[in-house]
Amino acid sequence: MSYDERFARYLEAGDDPHAPAEFTAVREHLASESTWLEPPAELQEAIVADIVAQHRPATARRPSSRWSLQRWIAAGAVAAAIVLAAVVVLSPDAERLEMQLQGTELAEGASAIATIVSTPSGEDITLDVTGLPAPPEGSYYQGWVRDGDNAITIGTFHMRGGDDEVTLWSGVDIEDFPVLTVTLEPDDGDPASSGNVVLRGELDQNP
């Protein structure tokens, strides 16, 4: 019997009292939780967002968005008062959208402006967040895009350093998933949304 055959037989049956150490070690690993655990579902996109955010030169992080935001505020104040949830305007650059997110009853003083830039690799979403407090210990914030029934995570973050820009990343077209929400998530490893929405905005597809 070859080494491989003996190894395979031992792995399957565990009936060789003189098995080499590597045989028994592998069998122990096959019975171990660590071999079969799945990482959290949102982890991949969080890593993508983290690296992409750090890769972008500081000067290019949010090109001309401040000017666009001011113009939006001036032009859209009345509409914002009527449309309670959110308003989106198309920027002069058709590849960039802006969306306002309003705090829900869970974060009434919070708001955010989302700048969404289509890139060859996906939707680059920068949230300029104000008034959102740091999440309680053992929890974090998570961004989602939704199309009604389905939600896709676009990354996680905390605001423990105060108001800031947060870079998120979507692999799906924002026009297909036009609702953007931020939820408060317990740090329990459960990949599903808690449903505790703290910020919400919706793309106006018929401006």
């Binding site: 080494y3 491989d4 055959e5 190894f7 395979a8 037989r9 792995l11 399957e12 080499p20 150490a21 590597e22 028994t24 070690a25 592998v26 069998r27 690993h29 096959l30 019975a31 171990s32 939780e33 660590s34 071999t35 079969w36 655990l37 799945e38 990482p39 959290p40 982890l43 991949q44 969080a46 890593i47 993508v48 983290d50 690296i51 992409v52 750090q54 890769h55 690799s121 996906g122 990343w169 692999g171 740090d187 329990d188 490893g189």
Partner: protein, 227 residues
Amino acid sequence: MLQVNLRPHDRWRPVLGSVLAVLSSFDRRDGGKRRTGLARRRPAADPPESDDAALAERFAAAEPDAIRQLYARFGRPVFTVAFSVLHDRALAAEAVQMTFVKAWRATDSYDAARPLAPWLYSIARRTAIDIARSERRHSGHELRETDAPTADHAMDHVWEAWQVRRAVDRLDPREREIVRLQHFAQLTHDEIAGRLSIPIGTVKSRSHRAHQRLAHVLTHLREEGAA
């Protein structure tokens, strides 16, 4: 060696320096009798994959698809390494994220002539150990004792965990489920057949093939043990 331009990341250097110093001390230590009786694991047995260099180059450029591709290939094994060190899912997830970010920052140290797997494994292990030590410092002895590996046998165990996870991930999903139910859930072939509603002959044939593949993929563990 890949030549990529990355921003300096000075805030990580003290941490990495201290971790590397600790790891160097392990190398100088007399290992004595180890749990498996194997020689020191050397993370060089992963076969190089043809697109490793190209993937590393795209990863260095922070291409989202490349990051996802690297994560799809190594995310689970990195999580296994982190959990093997930290014994805590949340900390392990944190370690996985830090590992990929550190790897991205360190792509200029990656040798394109070598496989990605052992390079990433080394970063994952160091990151998990660093978190374990940090947790110990901040939580006190009575809280979340993480049992960080501080001996050669523990290092062997983590390296084996990485290898076994990679081998399991390469199995056909149907065969992998048989192996999981047999070893982790401790079910018999009869019970697996009932659980999956498939004939017992199918369970036996898939189990046989799966274990043959595992033995073939992991046969290098013997060579490492003899090194």
